[in-house]
Amino acid sequence: MNEHVVGLPDEQATIQLGSRLADVLVEGLVVYLSGDLGAGKTCLVRGMLQGLGHNGPVKSPTYTLVEDYVLGDSLIYHFDLYRLLDPEELELIGIRDYFNGKACCFVEWPERGKGWLPAPDIEIHIRLKNEGREASLTGLSETGAALVASLKRD
């Protein structure tokens, strides 16, 4: 089973999970992030970017739709499709230029881009649990499954 469930009792744990993702990141990886408002999706991306050595702010891309980060040899795109009402709007912003097989793409609210987004390698769902959160990671491609398996072994 390509699923891995991680308990996230506090924000630090979410950052930590992001940082572990940073360790296993490969070129062109597509990750979908789902979960309610305030679940900690952007927080997870922050942990991942910091794990790659990013020091500055990690702004929510809700308004800008996408923020990009160049870290060493890695190019990361952080999408937030929350404001999208019609998936076809992605075509208008040139979505195909971003998913180019080189850049790693993290997509929040991917369900709003249905039909216009490439399939994910990994799907991460964060839900509220007791006072904290719980994340489930599912590998959906060969690459994704291998990454999730390696996170599971740690």
Binding site: G40, C43, R46, S60, Y63, T64, G94
Partner: protein
Amino acid sequence: MLVLGIETSCDETAVALYDSEQGLLGHRLYSQVALHAEYGGVVPELAARDHIRKLEPLIGDLMSSTGRKLADLDGIAYTVGPGLSGALLVGASLGRSLAWGLGIPAIGIHHMEGHLLAPMLEADKPDFPFLALLVSGGHTLLADVAGVGDYTILGESLDDAVGEAFDKAAKLLGLGYPGGPAISRAAETGTPGRFDFPRPMTDRPGLDFSYSGLKTFTLTTANNHDLDDQTIADIALAFQDAATDSLVIKCRRAIRKTGHRALVVAGGVGANQSLREKLAVLADEEGARVHFPRPEFCTDNGAMIAHVGCLRLQGGEHDALDVSVRPRWSLEDLRPPGQ
């Protein structure tokens, strides 16, 4: 010098005509009304990205309503960053090519510089240097404006923008969109003191902001209570108080740190009545003045771009013939006109 300004960095398609002698001659924002008909009453917010379709007729309307012809123009200014490259390219390509066709200079403008200098479009202008608080759905920024092209970012949001926090808190409480007015309305009947929300980032030094934690606090509070109308109002009030207090606290620190006597507020959140009242009290207490540009110049507009374009073209600046945009561009990289 008569300058056409074009703004297409995000959702709005906007144009304006600014004259160095006569000031602003006219400005246009693409009307959502026409879109309503086309989309059968539902306007996808991001359909506004469809700048290509809207820009040319908008310029035509601006010229005819001001009684000017393209041949009267002395220069063209357009936003080249920061923003989405696809959106920016529409304004930049059209502006650059039109200027080439007319044989006049063209200049690419920084979107945020437009916002920072927007108060200069008003009759009651602040004197340099001043502090600028830019608060919108996409930005939360406190800047020291020493003069045209001389900006220092004193603080900014490390995560969510304050306007975004309002939108998301409203969503969590089941209130409408846009969140700012919805929260304010609900807060009117809120019980002061029932909930006490943390004031983000105020317990540590510095002028940066953070709104992600406040969103989470709102979520947790909403989940732990039955959301009857009174509770929603009480949470809305506590959220609004915390969100605006943290802005006011940072503004006070910035006034004391810089010694500047004028504070300019731009961006959609500047329309929040509670924030306005608190900033007025702050200004009074600190012996400073607070300026609010008129609402249509607080949000994205073409006038601010035409205005800065005119200042820079007059300073002898102009762009080469290639069309290029700068999706990532720091305000602090700017220099005074002509330097």
